[in-house]
Subunit: 389 residues, 2 copies
Amino acid sequence: MKNIQSFIVLFALFSGNIAVAQTTDKVVEDFKPSSVNQPGKEYPQVNSERRVRIRIEAPQANKVQLDIGAVKYDLTKDENGVWMGESAPQDEGFHYYQLNIDGASVPDPGTRYFYGAGRWGSGIEIPAHDQEFYALKKVSHGLVSENRYYSDITESWRRCFVYTPPGYHSGKNKRYPVLYLQHGSFEDETGWLNQGHANLILDNLIADNKAVPMIIVMDNGYAFKPQEEQVVSTPTKPAMVFEEVLINEVIPMIDNKFRTINDREQRAIAGLSMGANQTMRIIMNNLDKFAYYGGFSGTANYPGTEEIDVKAFLDGAFADGKTVSERIKVLWLRVGTKEPEVFPKSIGAFRDMLDNQGIDHVYYESKGTVHEWLTWRRSLHDFVPRLFR
Amino acid sequence: MKNIQSFIVLFALFSGNIAVAQTTDKVVEDFKPSSVNQPGKEYPQVNSERRVRIRIEAPQANKVQLDIGAVKYDLTKDENGVWMGESAPQDEGFHYYQLNIDGASVPDPGTRYFYGAGRWGSGIEIPAHDQEFYALKKVSHGLVSENRYYSDITESWRRCFVYTPPGYHSGKNKRYPVLYLQHGSFEDETGWLNQGHANLILDNLIADNKAVPMIIVMDNGYAFKPQEEQVVSTPTKPAMVFEEVLINEVIPMIDNKFRTINDREQRAIAGLSMGANQTMRIIMNNLDKFAYYGGFSGTANYPGTEEIDVKAFLDGAFADGKTVSERIKVLWLRVGTKEPEVFPKSIGAFRDMLDNQGIDHVYYESKGTVHEWLTWRRSLHDFVPRLFR
């Protein structure tokens, strides 16, 4: 036991990113409950330094840790059996985390739960300086509806969420363009709503007349044929049969059930990370269906960072640069400045290929954000105003 | 430690309802993953005896328990630090539960999470013999939409979910009756969907031509004026300002946003437990707004079991029995046969009053169910076919 503790102290000294914050005098005491706590729950809390403070009763436990941002922070027990402690300052935005109680990795009972990192578990919101663009405001709100459908391709029940803009339900005849918007790996169709606030971003943009009112469809990017092993996809093997489900089942269902404009110039597709990779393959295979593409923290050459062979890449889909430029009205890419190197490098290689082919594109960087939801909220907020003009 | 163990064994012998099932040879080994587990999670499991089996890694823990149905079951650790164990047989239907790890009460990382008992936490489904009526089937499905609205009464953002029946979205002019459906205490607007499967119950009834296609609105029964302390309501003090919010804000919003029939004879109200109590008060104060009432495991005299003074009860709302009979087209009550005595007894006192006043009502019992969601699923399934005929 002593050896383990020594190791941890040693590791902390060298890595510089394990903090046992309650032993220092540097913590600013202006903690407030996280905005995504369960109703009435005081903890977890966040302070102005962007530290996360945890509180949990576990009188008989030997060791309790906060596990956030790939770092485990030891908590300290008081005489009442209550464990408390803080993380080092976190990046602004949304983070998944968990508690570790005597070796059990469990959700914090103080938070609401989110699907990401392959599980429903705890999340925390570190207020961002630009959070107003995804805030719940007194503007007209669209509706989000849950759509269950049986897929004959996967032979299973699936689900998508559909955002309809303000005015859709009271209007009777007006028809709308559609954005198909995909989550990343180890996430699902709930991510763009619960973590991404796609509905609020659209409500605010539409209220400010900065975006065309549109329908957004958020489906689950994991789709397998029934006889195939339900392995979790990797970014390099992302497609599975999602393309088939989307093109042959979801789009016809949406065009039938909602007042859409069934036209390639009124249909966009975008995704984040694995979803960026998937949707790039889908648009290049289906240029008759989509005219706008958004790739948030991902491209179809990921994780490759080397120069792209345009003849081989996606079966030569970008080989005729002139046609691609004509067919794709907006090709939009973004990455967070703090993302792991593989993301900017693979996106960089992709952009070089676009430049060589003479294909216009829009490229933005999200300042100070990692491979997380604040990068993608900002991406959606910049991408959507460019659609259907 | 030995004393504690002796005490537990002693208590188990006397109470008869603490089981450390893995020490017996009686457990039937046909466990299957619970239907409400997280994707890909093998545990918790349920067997044909309706026992719940838990598995969790917690190598450094001293004690891990399954806490379900007000009983705590000790789990046993194996040489790999994995804790496992089973509960005694549970009633069929849906149950909230949690794990206790060295004194910390936490959600099971294997399940999806539900809001009930005042928190988001674990739940498990014990398959019921009549589960087909709320199963997801290949029938036309309605849509459930999330509606956020700002309440000027509570000065806060609130939310309701709205079920629109199959055909609503493709139809352009057809208008529908509306059922307002409320959850119980320590639950919220998500309960009737996540635990109650109200949408699936309606989809199946409508597909069988057993119910009139209708809209269902599920709001949050907790509503407080901003200056008032946000105390959690008790069943004897349930109203808060929810009635005001529902009548003055929610109903006008729904009638404006959706294609409703704005007429008392095309509007019903029902609720479970605290919601039954609230909605009975609301219909009796607003007979110009509603013509149908469903009380699931609750009445407005709860927890009173004594004879009702009809002149005093709800300010004499039932004193003129003839008028009540004429105005309320269906007055429907139900309780589970295994619910705590106060529920059948208070409902019994209410029924006696109705009989004395010559007020017709429908009364059913749900066989073998407690004060839980299977009772209320069955209630909705019996109540809804009687509406709007």
